[in-house]
Amino acid sequence: MKILVAVKRVADPENLNKIKLSAQGKIDTTGLEPKASPYDDYALEAALRLTENGTNTKARLGEVVVVTFGPKEAESMLRAMLGTGADRAIRVDATDDVLDGDLVARGLKALVDKEKPDLVLLGYQQVESESAQVGAQLAEYLGWPQVTFAGSIKSEDDRALVVGREVEGATAQLRATLPAVVTVLDKIVKPKSVQSKHTSATHAYPEGVRFAALMAIMAAKKKPLAEVKLAELAPDATLKVHYGAAELPPKRAAGVKVKDVKELVSKLKTEAKVI
């Protein structure tokens, strides 16, 4: 199976509290180390699991291509992903300010037409604007089936996947014919969430995203990393989303102390109007 994993580079999600807002309402992330959006890391982990037998992770039984839209510096993130196990990487040269979800989806569509993967995996959303647009739009442009909020993926043969889609309080088991677009949740990196047709049903992975071994980090620089111009993929660079201004969420107002249950009930009725 050939899988394309689309990855967004975001400001270090572990330090989001350090984001500042300029007077003009622009988000300032200076000094925050750029990293892959965590759900995209999970998508890569799922892709690797789908292209191996679980016990010998060095024997690749498919191809995983990681792609990002970003500047030259984004290549170190892609190299790191090659170290983690991806076979090939593509960087579409662009900076965030000339992109929106729609343009990325159109660019990805053109890339998919060229690369012809069986599956495109993405995080269910990226952690910066959390808009969850790209996966859905890409599937639409491609006319492919899509499953969002995937918590598990099983591939029984090369023609279809059984995807567990998380819906409120339950899981819907969906069968998606390939090629397809799937966006994943963090549950996807649980020990038994992903099974390729080569993995035994009893195989359990360590929870989470695998580590890059030292020798794999060293070998990553020999793996192919291609650069593609955005214009080659999407000649029309018009953006549909325009950036207004951002503001920090309002501080929570101080609470009120109530005397007794009676007062609480009355306040909930008259002031909060929730009952």
Partner: protein
Amino acid sequence: MSSPKPIQAINRYKADLRELQFLLFEQFRLQELLGKAPFENWGEEEIRSTLSECYRWVREVIGPLNAPADAQGCRIDDGRVKTPTGFQDAWKKLYEAGWKAIAVDPEYGGAGAPHALQVLIEEMISGANTAFAMYPGLAFGAAEVIESFGTPEQKHLYCGRMFGGQWGGTMCLTEPQAGSDVGSAKTTASRNPDGSYVIRGTKLFISGGDHDLAENIIHLVLARVDGAPAGTKGLTLFIVPRIRPSADGSLGEFNDVDVANIEHKMGINGSATCMLNFGDNGACLGWPVGGEAKINQGMPQMFKLMNSARIAVGVQGLSVASSAFLNALEYSKERKQGSAITHWKDATAPRVPILEHADVRRMLLDMKSRVEGIRALAVKLAHHQDQVRALTGKDEQKAAYHQGQVDLLVPLVKAYGSDQGFRVCETAIQTYGGVGYTKDFPVEQYCRDAKIFSIYEGTNGIQAMDLVGRKLGQAGGANLQAYLADVAQFVQKYSGDATLGGAAKALGLAQEALGGSAMRMLMWFQTGNVGMVPLQGNRFLEMMAETTVGWMLLQGAAIALEKKKSVAAGHPDAAFYDGKVAAALYYARNVLPGVEFKARLMGDEDKSPLDIADASFATV
């Protein structure tokens, strides 16, 4: 009655990756050695990825085992040591990840990285779980000995397997009557006609002397061949496998090595400290490292390898001290107690984080400057080692200069790293207050674990003797002269600097005091006043370590000041660089002047510890 709070299996290890990157790429400019022999496979990107991936690995895999393993300890079951829960899995994962192969020669499956990187990787592994790190650490050290001195067959059989974690390893020097005095070892070796030797004796305090992490354990045992001279001259280093392997590596017979017991200790409880009996049944065989030609060469072999083991122990001190400091810093931002000094009379004034109290800030900056200074010292040493590797065969004179600095700095890293490492951990407990003394926080364990570092691998007393008795006079004193000249050059360059000038002058005074004290030592030697040398050795070592640490901190500060010029005001790097300058100035103002003072004390030639009668120490 309820039982005590359970020990939580969560990671507490912290490192400041920005600081590590600063040392490698800004202060020591490691990139200048990369991309060409012998580091042709290494570039900046690989180093950054390795650091961040290893940091993620230690926090997720071995960090969470640190406190539980301390509480659980090791036990002997059916004559074999059982290591704490999780160590077997961690061992397997460590070798899968490849961190122990970082600086190993590619011939044995290693990545051939610069020592400067290896030191920082070792810091992370050791800091996340000191006791666990002992087992692979000793396997690595023993493999290095065989790599340096073994016969081709020995290297072929042992090195790959020991570097790769298939087999463990130990260093067996100590015996009940032979601690610092290695030459008193009584373990015997009697030659068999086939060239093997029958080994008999008891070794004490052997770290990882037995464990359940690898299928075999290869002991390196110092023993005396029948008829060999007394003392260190008659010692030979033997390869003594727990299970005898065939030439193809398959395991054969049990080699009569038994673990008699394990110690109950203050710290590193997850590391089994074993008493080993070799040849109780007369069936223990050993082979001299390097073959028959190397009989009685055990001490020179050990000496050469002691460098790397001693550096590793200094780095152990650094590793826990660094995490102790970073944990204490985090706590000091959260814990609210008391009000600002400006409102101390106002009972209604808001409570402030303890970070705002002057005495807490003093402790924090003191820890920061020592930790970062020792790290810079360790990386400096490793950087000299890397340059030896890069220059050997190209420029022997320069290579010799770098090797001279390596030899000189080893006792400083070992002794200052371990002594100060322990003291920083103690200061971290003090910073926490009462909770620091409990197992809710990691610092009490760090402190207990850290105490051994000043004792094993040559006590710090022995390090001081190594420095003043061997190293100062090496190469006719040229290594020391080169060192003093390097410091003087820095002082000259920065004495007029607006920010660092005063500190550079303080460094200059320390350097002069140090040089003068070295002359004084020489004079004591020459005038037969030799009793003064061992009495003042420890003090001299501390003076030299403080001078070097002060110098390294100021060198970093000079770079930070330059770099800061091109950093935007709100950028976190601005605060980072300011921190480098603050740490250097603090150390220069509060520690460096002590060097001059200590030189004065040396000049006073106080002999009271020698003069006091044994009976006068106490009446009991």
